[in-house]
């Protein structure tokens, strides 16, 4: 809710370059994490981040908006937002970092869990996950503990993990619970 208020503030004021930068990354204000609520419309998203550099339809029901905000390698995108084409709902925001960095401030110990692919016994990959309000989860990809750098954070609606991270969805919802 807090980010929506911030976002609406941005929209009313008219977006400026510095505000795009503010919307580009999660913000910690007064101890609260504010970023996308994943209820934003395409219009609101475009006003917050500007127009995407590339738009691509993929899968059965998805469209991706890809951005290059700031200095990024030309092969990569700074942001990749995924909407459902059927409902226009924003379902995930991926933020890439190059060079990699620590994001520990976004993942306080008591609210963060580590998950391993395919399992904790023989991990090939890991991520830290924090559940946020309104069914959102924030993930620090490729990390398992504080102090590790990451090249990517992902904010996604938890039910959508079923389609993009089935292994994680299964770990969070054993037996499909």
């Amino acid at each position: 809710m807090r980010f929506t208020a911030v976002l609406l503030g941005l929209l009313c004021a008219g977006p400026v370059f510095s505000q795009i930068r503010q919307a580009a990354d999660p913000q910690i204000k007064e101890g609260q994490l504010t970023w996308f609520e994943l209820t934003e419309t395409k219009q609101q998203t475009a006003k917050a981040l500007g127009m995407p550099r590339m738009v691509a339809v993929f899968g059965q029901d998805f469209v991706s908006w890809q951005y290059q905000i700031g200095v990024v390698d030309h092969e990569e995108y700074s942001h990749q937002l995924v909407f459902r084409t059927s409902t226009h709902a924003l379902i995930s925001v991926t933020r890439n970092y190059d060079p990699e960095r620590t994001v520990d401030e976004l993942f306080p110990d008591g609210e963060t869990t580590a998950h391993y692919y395919p399992n904790a016994e023989k991990p090939q990959y890991s991520l830290r996950l924090r559940r946020l309000s309104n069914g959102r989860v924030l993930m620090a990809m490729g990390t398992s503990k504080a102090g590790q750098v990451t090249g990517q954070i992902v904010l996604i609606r938890e039910p959508e993990l079923r389609y993009f991270y089935p292994w994680l969805f299964e770990q969070l919802n054993p037996g499909g619970q």
């Binding site: 691509a56 990517q152 991270y165």
Partner: protein, 672 residues
Amino acid sequence: MILNGLARPALLTLALASCALAQSSAPNVRIVLPERTRLLQGQLVDLILEVRNASAISNLKVTAGDTDLTSKFSSPVKAELDCDTTMDLVLRADLQSFNTPGDIKLNVSLNADSLAVTDTRTIQVREFNYNTLARRNIILFIGDAMGTAYRDAARLVSRSIVDSNGKNSFRAGFFDDLLEMDKMPVSGMSMTYGTDSVVPDSANTGTAWATGNKSFLNAVNTFGDGTDCRWRFNGQTNAATLQYITDNPRVENLWQYLKRRFNYRAGIVTTAAITDATPAVEGAYVGYRQARLEIARQYFENPMLGGRPAFDVLLGGGADPFTAAGRADKRDLINEFTNLGYRYVTTASELRNASFGQPTIGLFKGSAKPATSSNGIATADVNMDVAYDKLQLPRPASEPIANLGGYTDQPMLDLMTQKAIEILSTSFSQSPFILMVEGASIDKQSHPNQAAGTIWDTIEFDKAVGVARSWAAKRQAKDTLIVVTADHDQSMSIIGVSNTPDEEYFNRTKSEKVSFKTSAGDQDFTVYGDSYANARAALPFINTSTTASNNGGAAGMPATFAPSNPADDPASSTYSTYFGSPAYSLDSRTGYPLNSGPGIRRLAVGFRTGDHTGSSVPVTAEGPGALLFTGYLDESDLFFKMAATLSTDTSDLDKALDLLINGGKYPKTVGK
């Protein structure tokens, strides 16, 4: 019932929509190959069937012409294609090939949950009868992003040399001596579009020239499939999605095709990291070009070669994904290469001493402390330094100061090319060879609009072409085809010449801010004295040709660097101008033009963007079968034309070309 004109289309639309909806949820089968799949006889390709909306299949039948391929396919494996909730199945027949030339009809029929479904593809299979007597070599030069303006810039800078008597080698619009690649007798143009993009990247363009087939952005010798939604466009490229990045249908490239079937020796030379996209298409098969650890592994354990190494020579940057510290699996691939008898070199000095046929891996740059990226599939991307910096030329003020990071003995591309040819051509087996040489940073320097870096890299590239041409010309048997082209274009253009004096061109303390308003707010840029010689994309590039232009505004550039009076002598101006010709002096020590000094008059270039373009790129060719490369052609044709020079008698073409060049009857270009 008669429908009126308004209702009919509406109902039709509804009906079509319903039909599409029904179709999308009904069982169906798809052969995962592009509509226009083209192969050589015997070229390997994965045949994959995707069965959607079905939990079981029966009565599978797959035929290719008269041949029954059904038994080649695996049992169906459950899959979730398209990232939806339907039940899907996948069947694979890996590394298949077709041995009869012609249009092969691939037919698939099966019962999916008891519903009969079918799909077909027509695959064009081109004849390949290897000419064992000719045993020709192929050297393919890829100037990454080297569109026409890049060739032009290299020529205008390196061939506008003023000698000690003040005579310019570019006079009155003619050059005394053209570029090496200009002198090649045959030229054409290559269209570079991908399956999903007008503006391609080095991966899908490389797939086109290396395999003869087009694909999607970032794809290395693979086609798109139904699991791409797991990683493509949502950025989820990591160790947990690697299985979906490596499950795409693969199509064999010419390097492995010739090595596997005819014992060719194979090599790659690049100034990029050796696992970058352009070299990767000669030795790896992945859906995503940045899966560097997997690409390095496939160089060592190539899937088309039964797990043998892909190359006899690998020279480039990017050591990290070959090191135990850089790899997630902690394998030391450099050590594994040397255990197989490869020589490992890391400096120009070591490379100079390498000769004869011993397989060689040369990695001339890497990280001080290699480490696996957090995504688990890559390392830091460490390219070799660019020619301009290796030559220790001072960078213009807007370009970053060189930092070789302790790698002060990196070879130039011409040395790398010379040694690769020496090594490949002197095997005990006397096998012919196929070699790719890439000038990588023509592109990499063009992305940030660094004109000096880009142009000098193109000159370096041309010197490497010269090495190959000279080597081929000295051979008694005219058995080496040399092709020079780009994978795609970039946005640089030639805009004139510049009189910017050195004290401004190199001055990092003198700059000004340029601001302009956009819908996203004010945007600020810092410009230096060289920025007007080399107009960068970030600048508000005001079109002063006409006041009616949509780019209209105050004519001219911001004040600091502009002449106070437009009538001033251009020689005192820092503007670029149409008038006059470039003038450089030659560094006799290196053979490269200097970018400073008294009397210099620089080429001025502009950048419209910092990215690739969809414009076609030039191709030049020399040697047996070169005439095949004339005219406008598709980039994927390069593969088939290179193959044709090995499998067909090109003597009639070669005689005609010889008559054209050496017959004395036809006009010749000055400087050729």
